[in-house]
């Protein structure tokens, strides 16, 4: 199984001289299984180059698993070339929206409506199938098994685990470890804490022992102080979760758009200096990074 990063940025694409080394495209990860089946995780702006790359082996057959429908995870989809080419076959998976009561197809079609995009979803030439996933639903895709768990983000977000021939990776999508809304002296503090612990246990159980844990680490601890509730993790919370899940390697991604290449280099240095014995191997995601499992 091979994991390749096409977009590692969070929130909004951020090209420029300060992001040229790690990359400015928003989230997109390509997982290629042992048999060559293609699974694309998220359709941020990184899915545009990913699509062009996939077109080298036409006809394209792939699965696209959407963690959630915030812009930085779907904005590249209308520029995903295989969708426009007859003969391509694309299965798109994602969660149901309980607020607007909409399935994935309705949400994704909307971003291709007249005022946003010149081509309607109906006009796509590929064979496109949408699948609304229930939480915990396991799907078999070629020689891979894809499972999901609900994460904690301001919209319904699935983390995905991909297994193939004994190798595995987990992608958190966007995730902030929940915080207790009660003070320690409130009656409900204990109950809430137990619910939070259960939730984290559920996530770690799904990700248990993966060869690669790819996780949202948009912020540093000092930045997090003013960003609680925004739905993202920090390098420390991400590492802590990877440790709890006993991941063999962790890859930090979803870099803040203001995060410069030099800052990421410094963070990488600091992480490697502070690494404990038996810690997972650590990577900072950058566009073009390929990890063979």
């Amino acid at each position: 199984m091979k994991v390749r990063f096409w977009g590692v940025r969070g929130s909004i694409a951020s090209p420029g001289p300060d992001t040229v080394r790690y990359g400015g495209n928003t989230t997109c990860i390509q997982v290629t299984t042992d048999s060559g089946a293609e699974i694309v995780l998220d359709g941020g702006t990184g899915i545009r180059p990913a699509g062009l790359n996939l077109m080298n082996a036409h006809p394209v057959k792939c699965a696209v698993c959407i963690t959630h429908t915030h812009w930085d995870h779907i904005q590249g989809l209308p520029f995903f070339t295989p969708l426009f080419v007859p003969g391509s076959s694309v299965d798109i998976y994602g969660a149901f929206d309980p607020v607007y009561q909409k399935d994935l197809k309705s949400i994704l079609s909307q971003q291709m409506e007249y005022c946003y995009f010149p081509v309607r979803e109906l006009e796509l030439k590929a064979d496109v199938r949408y699948h609304t996933l229930r939480e915990g639903q396991v799907i078999e895709y070629a020689d891979a098994t894809i499972s999901n768990v609900l994460m904690n983000h301001p919209v319904m977000t699935y983390g995905y685990r991909v297994d193939c021939n004994g190798k595995s990776m987990f992608f958190s999508g966007d995730h902030e470890p929940p915080y207790n809304i009660y003070n320690e002296d409130d009656t409900f503090y204990g109950e809430y804490k137990q619910l939070m612990d259960d939730k984290e246990r559920g996530i770690c159980n799904l990700a248990r022992g993966v060869d690669l844990f790819v996780i949202d680490a948009q912020y540093t601890e000092p930045e997090m102080v003013n960003r609680r509730g925004w739905g993202h993790g920090t390098f420390s919370s991400a590492l802590a979760m990877a440790r709890r899940a006993e991941a063999k390697a962790v890859c930090f991604t979803h870099h803040d758009p203001t995060r410069t290449d030099d800052q990421l280099d410094r963070i990488a240095d600091k992480l490697s200096r502070q690494a404990r014995a038996h810690d997972p191997d650590m990577y900072i995601a950058h566009e073009g990074l390929e990890i063979e499992l």
Binding site: P98, V99, T132, P154, P178, I181, L195, M196, G231
Partner: protein, 279 residues
């Protein structure tokens, strides 16, 4: 048919106020939701819908917040608030304020009874929800079958019999059955559904789920504490099967008196109502 059922006016207004203020406390929002039977029911419906909630049934608003995320719960609440408010006057002549008072009192007492028989705190939240929702069928009747419900309400008063008996005569079903049916169709936990369905049936005190014992008796004690305008006929100590006293204590007043913090919890719940009505 309940998709369009609005929530109570005070909570609708508070949800709108709290969700418009980016600095408002999530605790305050949870508190408004978990004191409103309609908001609670609808948010639990989302959390337990077939798309989610597979791993474990979601039985409290705190659980829904951790499970679905704060922002999703907030937006679901806002979408419900956008439907409007339950009218304070209805064609059935059903007193909504009295209903809320009784539901909240039952919720608080049922949870207190759970703690008294040492139900773990995480499960006690389930008991609060059972109390809050046990009479939701009455709101459904007031909204959707007002004429028949008016008949049932007057007949119960005139004949001095419990409302659920006249409901069966006038509507064909009791509020307990309809409430349970709704909760069941939305995949709420079976124990909660069973307790709501049987909240007028004493049972044996042995074979049933504990939530059923607490809800049955919580409802009786709530009526003992505050006489309901909607359903003035309530069970007395003489109507109670012996297990009630074996399980909870010697008589209604001493049982109520022995529940630690009951008055504070009741005051807080009532406070939610009065602040809402004034604002």
């Amino acid at each position: 048919m309940c998709e369009r059922m609005p929530a109570f006016p005070a909570s609708v207004q508070k949800v709108i106020t709290l969700t418009s203020d980016i600095n408002s406390s999530p605790r305050d929002l949870v508190r408004v939701i978990d004191h409103d039977p309609v908001l609670t029911m609808k948010i639990l419906k989302v959390a337990n819908s077939a798309y989610f909630g597979l791993s474990r049934k979601v039985v409290s608003i705190n659980h829904a917040v951790v499970y679905l995320g704060l922002n999703t719960v907030k937006h679901v609440a806002l979408a419900i608030a956008a439907i409007g408010s339950l009218p304070t006057e209805n064609d059935a002549g059903f007193d909504m304020q009295d209903f809320l008072q009784h539901s909240l009192t039952t919720a608080v007492i049922t949870r207190a009874l759970a703690r008294k028989i040492r139900v773990p705190e995480v499960d006690a939240a389930n008991y609060f929800v059972a109390g809050l929702l046990h009479d939701i069928g009455k709101v459904v009747f007031a909204q959707f079958r007002p004429t028949e419900f008016r008949g049932a309400l007057s007949a119960a008063r005139e004949r001095g019999v419990p409302l659920y008996q006249t409901e069966e005569e006038f509507i064909g079903h009791s509020h307990a059955e309809v409430g349970a049916f709704l909760c069941e169709s939305w995949d709420f936990p079976a124990t909660l559904v069973g307790a709501i369905r049987a909240h007028h049936i004493p049972g044996t005190g042995r074979t049933e789920e504990r939530i059923r014992h607490c809800l049955f008796f919580g409802n009786v004690l709530a009526n003992h504490l505050f006489e309901s305008v909607n359903a003035p006929v309530s069970a007395t100590e003489d109507d109670m099967p012996p297990w009630v006293f074996r399980m909870f204590g010697n008589d209604f007043d001493s049982i109520l008196g022995s529940i630690e913090g009951l008055q504070t919890d009741l005051d807080q719940a009532t406070n939610m109502l009065t602040i809402g009505m004034k604002s």
